[in-house]
């Protein structure tokens, strides 16, 4: 396909749109991460979406519905998160400075996700434990649903939540990714303790 618009012009518009503060959500797709392509969306309040879905169309519509229609791919606003993710995936970072934007979540989700945020690097917890900490020890299944719908995996570490018997149980990004993230953390957590 012949492009009549140069990529330079295209990028200049995308940068100007972000610089003028006109975007509800700026997003980008990082194709080059160790765990495959990752779509990230940020608002002026923080990161609102991290997705392993390689087809962004559905993601964009959902972002537009939740945060407003001014959703545009723009690399500058997501630069910092890109760098932090990259550092994390190389074992050079344990926590994220970019915070989550959870305004589109229900109170219950926010409460569970806040509790999830306290599970530290290299540790794991169980669905039942999270259920107990958020007020209902019998709600392990509901916790599983929240983890499955976690809008910002990795930044909010739902990969650190496993079954009571230690099995990985499930992960929206696939069990391979969950295992890879846990292995990465175990390796680097141990190294830091030496």
């Amino acid at each position: 396909m012949t492009e009549i618009i140069t990529s330079d012009l295209d990028e200049r518009f995308r940068a100007a749109a972000a610089a003028e503060g006109l975007l509800d959500v700026a997003y980008d797709v990082f194709d080059d991460t160790a765990i495959g392509p990752v779509l990230v969306g940020v608002t002026d309040r923080g990161v609102c979406r991290i997705s392993y879905d390689p087809d962004p169309e559905r993601e964009l519509e959902q972002l537009a519905r939740l945060y407003g229609p001014r959703v545009l791919r723009s690399s500058k606003p997501v630069d910092r998160l890109h760098r932090e993710l990259d550092e994390y995936l190389r074992g050079k970072r344990r926590t994220f400075d970019v915070g989550p934007d959870l305004r589109a979540q229900t109170d219950y989700y926010r409460r569970v996700l806040a509790e999830l945020a306290r599970v530290g690097y290299g540790e794991t917890t169980t669905y039942g434990t999270l259920a107990a900490r958020t007020g209902n020890p019998r709600a392990a299944r509901a916790i599983g649903t929240v983890m499955n719908r976690n809008p910002v995996p990795i930044v909010l570490p739902c990969h650190r939540v496993v079954g009571a018997n230690g099995s990985l149980t499930g992960y929206a990004g696939g069990l391979d990714r969950k295992e890879a993230l846990l292995r990465l953390e175990a390796e680097h957590a141990a190294r830091l303790q030496l």
Partner: protein, 152 residues
């Protein structure tokens, strides 16, 4: 319920090539780049106030047209105004277009956007780079002028 407003990314990707071609045809390759950026920035400033996702192509071209007018005005203060965009396959615009041919450009754009595309005055003001009340005045002046012309 109209068609939902798509994410801006989709709107931009769908219309950017046509808008750029339009602008290049009107102001030349050199000035088309700035005009392109200004067109989509202006669209973005008004985008969250759109009530439905219909006629977005016409809307984008109308904004681009307005940028061309501004550009021409700056370059040739006494110059002639270029033709307004004509739309194919858009009944509302097509029906209105011949009726409004004789209107001054600003009144014509306001009338077409208001009555052809059902945009609010606030949206029209944004699209034309002016204010809600200016858009309202331009549309009503246009309608008055059309009535007068019809009587003659």
């Amino acid at each position: 319920m109209g068609v939902a407003v798509p994410p801006f990314e989709t709107f931009y990707e769908t219309h950017k090539a046509e808008v750029f071609r339009f602008l290049r045809g009107r102001v030349g390759a050199e000035r088309a780049e700035d005009a392109f950026q200004e067109t989509f920035l202006r669209a973005l400033r008004a985008y969250h106030r759109l009530e439905h996702g219909e006629h977005l192509r016409a809307w984008a071209l109308t904004i681009a047209h307005r940028i061309v007018l501004d550009d021409v005005r700056r370059a040739r203060p006494q110059g002639e105004m270029p033709e307004l965009v004509t739309e194919d396959g858009r009944p509302a615009f097509e029906e209105l277009a011949p009726l409004t041919d004789e209107l001054p450009p600003k009144e014509r754009a306001a009338v077409v956007l208001r009555y052809g595309y059902d945009l609010s005055y606030e949206e029209i003001g944004d699209a034309l780079g002016s204010t809600e009340s200016a858009a309202r005045q331009a549309a009503s002046a246009g309608v008055r002028r059309l009535r007068k012309e019809k009587k003659q």
